[in-house]
Amino acid sequence: MPTPTLTQSIVITFIQCLMVVIFVFVVVPLTVFAERKVLGHLQQRLGSTRVASGHVGFSGWMNRRMWKMGKVPVVSYWRGIPGLVGDVLKLILKEDVIPAKADKFVFFLAPSISMVAAIVVFAAISFVPGTFFTFPTWFPYLGGLPVSGGISDINVGLLWILGVATVGVYGIVLAGWSSNSKYPLLGGLRSAAQMVSYEVPLTLSLLAPVVLSASLNFSEMATRMAVGMPVWALIPQVIGFLLYLTCGFAETNRLPFDMPEAENELVAGFHTEYSGMKFGLFYLAEYINMTVVSALASAFFLGGPWLLPFGLQGLLNPYLPGFLSWFAAPHAIFFVAKIVFLLFTYIWVRGTIPRYRYDQIMAVGWKYLIPLALVNLLLAAAIRCFVV
């Protein structure tokens, strides 16, 4: 296999970045749409089934067409999808209001910090260990070169993800402060306190995989957690998964823990004063963060690009018959499927569990999750010490 020159490797990295951006901008709108649908189904509704009324616009055209074809347009299940285009158009075209006494520079900076911190995390996430695909030889300039499964699989990938994700809190806090308004400020303060305190159990629950796999490299950790673990490692993995998911919900400000934007208390929280595409960036950042948290959970607990979760793949692989060998190997499609399932879980939990009170959130974080995460870490360390 030829080794790429410096320029070629930069071009390849650029292509990888493009692929990640495309992935994100495909997954995020679909999540937004799925959120409407799934929340509807959870409440025995159909979710969004049409864009405008039955008579005007695109859906009206579809309606008339189906009537003309002699069919009752009952099959309206997917007709909410054009609404996504409408949403994006609205966000782009809407007037961008800046409050009179707002700190303009910080007001402008806050959503971009949120967005950048959310998307830069993908630099260290590897979708599949090793080579993702190889360019065919006829390809101009890059023929025959391999493309690895992650943009940059650095040695401290996990720390990079955690570190950059913490920068995201600035977006929310600064947005709250710079709006020069009471509710955003309260939302920003709440969010700062919540995110800083939930960072601790989140990191502690991720330390269990670190201890078990003895690495900080993303793909190495995913590989060892999926196929290199003894039976005993199941227990800390399952507990750690639940802990991590809980803290991940809190970190992304999703519904059981959506203190920064609790509607009935704080209007819309930190983005009350934001409109147009600035609000859109916050919105995007929230969903990208959800994707990142899902990616981490699926990589370290649910087996990443392997099929079976919790390290079961490594235990069952020796007994797998030969014709099923496709299922024994890592594939990016499994990884993406797990991410999608966890995104579904986000919405599922949102439709099920009501919001906590603020003091309850703090109590859960400090009194239950941190001690549990510590116990889990001890368990993992014991397994690492005595079994592996």
């Binding site: 020159t5 410096l6 320029t7 930069i10 700190d103 520079f105 910080v106 900076l109 650095i154 040695n155 401290v156 720390l159 990079w160 955690l162 570190g163 950059v164 913490t166 920068v167 809190v169 600035y170 806090v173 600064l174 402060w177 710079s178 400020l185 920003g188 303060l189 700062a192 800083v196 960072e199 900080l216």
Partner: protein, 183 residues
């Protein structure tokens, strides 16, 4: 093209260093306290970039994790809560400026005193490296998280633990100072 990219890659440290200095100047020069904090954040992120340019990934990422993610957030928190009006802020800072100059001069003197040898002296014959028996089975150039941890928990265990005790003392002190008797 190749040459250009290589030149940029070689001078990454200088670029990040200059940006960090710019951030520090912004921090000092900014009128509003929040802008100061933002300048500080910018400087910290660029220092992390400096570490990354020197291939010390662990230190670089730890810099982001601890400073940018933890400490500056707390600064921001405090500054947001202790909102001073512009005028009052100016008065306080002008009152302090005399002492601040003294403190900075003292700090620079102390810094030069400690790092005199490192800055002006001849380059030391050997870099600070792990003891060979600690570095056994370790590719130090590529596994610097492990290398740092071995150094920290074997050679420098006592200073490390003393540092953590100091932090604990600071924590207890803060609680004692801040706590008022409940009536």
């Amino acid at each position: 093209m190749e040459h250009f990219i290589e030149t940029i890659g070689r001078n990454m440290f200088a670029i990040f260093g200059v940006l960090a200095l710019v951030g520090a100047l912004l921090m000092i020069g900014a009128r509003s306290a929040i802008h100061s904090v933002l300048g500080f954040l910018f400087a910290m992120l660029n220092i992390a970039g400096c570490f990354l340019a020197l291939e010390a990934e662990f230190l670089g990422v730890a810099q982001i994790l601890v400073y940018a993610g933890g400490i500056v957030v707390l600064f921001l928190f405090v500054v947001m809560l202790v909102e001073m009006s512009k005028k009052h802020e100016g008065e306080v800072f002008q009152l302090q400026s005399r002492y601040a100059v003294l403190a900075v001069a003292g700090g620079v003197a102390l810094f030069l005193g400690v790092f005199r040898k490192a800055i002006f002296g001849a380059p030391s014959p050997e870099a600070l490296v792990l003891r060979p028996e600690l570095a056994k089975g370790l590719d130090v150039a590529h596994q610097n998280a492990q290398a740092v941890s071995r150094g920290l928990f074997a050679d420098y265990l006592l200073p490390f633990e003393i540092l953590s005790v100091i932090l604990l003392v600071a924590l207890v002190g803060a609680v004692v100072l801040a706590k008022t008797e409940r009536v």
